[in-house]
């Protein structure tokens, strides 16, 4: 009989990633509602010493596999180990991080366990002793609630990072740590050949999750420094409208729009861009759009989720300060 809620942590470069604490906190809540214990499976290298800290977030017992072969995530080393441990544990619910590696891991593990998997969940709840998971579809244009078939244990859900609330750590609580006692095989199917750090750190527009973009309202190339600063704080790329590119302020590779790049970031901040349709065609599928423009009639406002009618030379410095404040508190 399946029992317990098990969270699988993500460990990178000597520390748990924040998402591990998020799913531990979420797991605690679900375990309480289910009346089940909260367990964790921690895979990694030199993870042993830190595993007990998961107790800060309500984990009661941590099964640890500490092995040099688990230094970096590779499916061929992680998945068999995790499957073996979980087959023994037989938990009711498994929570995993829906990070880049976590997505690969979750899907493989689910296939190996024959479990039903809801990926990238943003909300979880318990109803009738069973898990219900909410997740976005169609690029966030709809949400679906998932339920598991009767008796289909374990119920597996991967959780979107930065969405679920993280409990305030209670450092007085430590989790019981136990070696899982499984063999780790050194896989040979895949290997990382090289990791090349981007020299300039310049993020490609089409890959960026946040884009800060400037138009004719920027008045000159020198003022883009402001946008660069904000972009750096947000991990964003800097884009430009066609007129800014035509004026020679930015290179053509920065151009967003019909004849430039078509982008779909989570957040698009348009500064001094009026929003001609040729520009909108390149960015209107962004999840959230912020417009900063002093002309309240600018068409960009009709597409913006948040419009700011302000002189951007006043507003942007204030915004940068606020973002700095936010970043320093979390």
């Amino acid at each position: 009989m399946a029992q317990g809620v098990c969270v699988i942590t993500e460990f990178r470069e000597g520390a748990f990633r924040r998402v591990s604490f998020e799913i531990a906190s979420e797991g605690r809540r679900l375990a309480d509602e289910l009346g089940e214990p909260l367990l964790a499976l921690a895979l990694g290298e030199s993870i042993d010493a830190l595993a007990a800290d998961l107790g800060n977030y309500g984990v009661e017992k941590v099964y640890v596999v500490d092995d040099p072969n688990l230094k970096n995530y590779r499916a061929e080393t992680y998945v068999p180990v995790a499957a073996e441990v979980l087959n023994n544990l037989d938990p009711k619910v498994i929570l995993t991080p829906a990070s880049v590696d976590g997505k690969d891991f979750s899907a493989r593990l689910a296939a190996r366990l024959g479990a039903g998997l809801a990926t990238d969940c943003t909300e979880l709840k318990v109803e009738g002793g069973s898990l219900k998971a909410k997740r976005p579809m169609y690029a966030g244009k709809a949400f679906a609630w998932y339920e598991w078939a009767d008796g289909a244990w374990p119920q597996m859900a991967s959780c979107r990072p930065n969405v679920m609330d993280c409990l305030a750590p209670d450092t007085s609580k430590k989790a019981e740590v136990e070696g899982a006692g499984v063999e780790v095989v050194a896989g040979t199917q895949t290997q990382v050949v090289n990791i090349e750090k981007d020299a300039g750190g310049k993020l490609d527009l089409t890959e960026a999750e946040v884009i800060v973009s400037g138009g004719r309202g920027m008045k000159g190339p020198e003022n883009f420094a402001m946008l660069e600063e904000l972009a750096k704080l947000l991990g964003a790329a800097v884009g430009a409208s066609r007129s800014a590119v035509d004026s020679g302020w930015r290179p053509h590779s920065d151009q967003v729009g019909q004849t430039g790049k078509v982008v779909t970031p989570n957040l698009y901040i348009a500064c001094g861009i009026s929003g001609a349709i040729q520009h909108l065609a390149g960015m209107s599928s962004s999840k959230y759009i912020v417009a900063v423009n002093k002309d309240p009639e600018a068409p960009i406002f009709s597409k913006a989720d948040y419009g700011v009618v302000e002189d951007l030379f006043q507003f942007m410095p204030a915004l940068i300060e606020e973002v700095k404040t936010l970043k320093s508190t979390c």
Partner: protein, 263 residues
């Protein structure tokens, strides 16, 4: 070299999503169907290997008859051959069910590489391709933005925050593709390509042909299923923030952080 591209037909990304009758799926009337963009990048990547190394490219998909149009599109781009698993009993499959169907179809095919998008842009599940790799015990190289095949090995590049990772895997392998349209620029079918595609072989298979029963896959075999759908609160485009400069900045950061959750 043989490459099988797993392709999913999805509603165009501009589609206005409405919940269908029954509340468990979207209303599919009046939808323009396209090849899921990441799958299209996979097709393009396969065709580049066809150009450079003479790879034979097969398109494998599952779904109703309308999917034929998308397979023909890929054939018009240059793929050689199409296979569609069209069986009403496979409807309602969960991710694992779909992976089982595809793996069963792949079981009777020759391949060195399986390509697909890292996710389909309809249900955004991000699991079927990876599960196929697991079911077939293949290495999976994910989120490729470039690919090379040589000496029995496949090498891809994947961007991560602030860096680019080069991964190598042994053949046979499954590669899922990421990136963006601007990176892959999938080719535009020529008219002779479109004409030829009409005559290229396209097989249709049922679950029985694959040796699967409806109990394994489809709604019956699904371990997890959608029980209800909802639309996000209608976002009020055109909303303007109030207050002085400082207040607006504060409010904007709060909204982006708490409401939109994008920073």
């Amino acid at each position: 070299m043989n490459i099988v591209v797993l392709l999913k037909q999805v509603p165009d990304t501009e589609t206005k999503i409405r919940i269908g009758a029954g509340g468990k799926s979207i209303d599919t009337s009046d939808i323009k169907w396209i090849i899921s963009p990441y799958d299209e990048y996979a097709v393009e990547a396969a065709l580049r290997l066809q150009d450079s190394a003479g790879a034979k490219v097969t398109i494998l998909s599952m779904g109703p008859e309308r999917v034929v149009e998308s397979i023909r599109t890929a054939l018009a781009m240059g793929a050689d051959h199409g296979v569609l698993v069209d069986d009403p009993a496979s409807e309602g499959s969960d991710g694992l069910g779909k992976a089982k169907v595809l793996a069963a179809a792949l079981g009777s095919m020759d391949f060195d590489l399986i390509f697909c998008g890292h996710r389909a842009v309809d249900d955004d599940e991000n699991q079927v391709g990876i599960m196929v790799a697991e079911l077939m015990s293949l290495p999976h190289l994910g989120l490729a933005v470039s690919i090379e095949v040589a000496d029995g090995k496949v090498t891809i590049q994947r961007p991560i925050e602030g860096a680019k990772v080069t991964l190598e895997g042994t053949l046979p392998a499954l590669v899922t593709f990421g990136g963006a349209h601007a990176i892959w620029n999938p080719r535009y079918a020529s008219l002779p390509g479109i004409m030829k595609a009409k005559k290229k072989p396209l097989e249709t298979k049922t679950l029985a042909d694959l040796g699967l029963s409806a109990a394994d896959v489809g709604a019956q075999g699904a371990k997890v299923k959608v029980t209800s759908m909802e639309l996000p609160a209608e976002r009020q485009a055109g909303r303007k923030l109030e207050g002085d400069t400082g207040e607006k900045a504060k409010e904007l950061v709060r909204l982006l952080h708490e409401e939109a959750k994008v920073i």
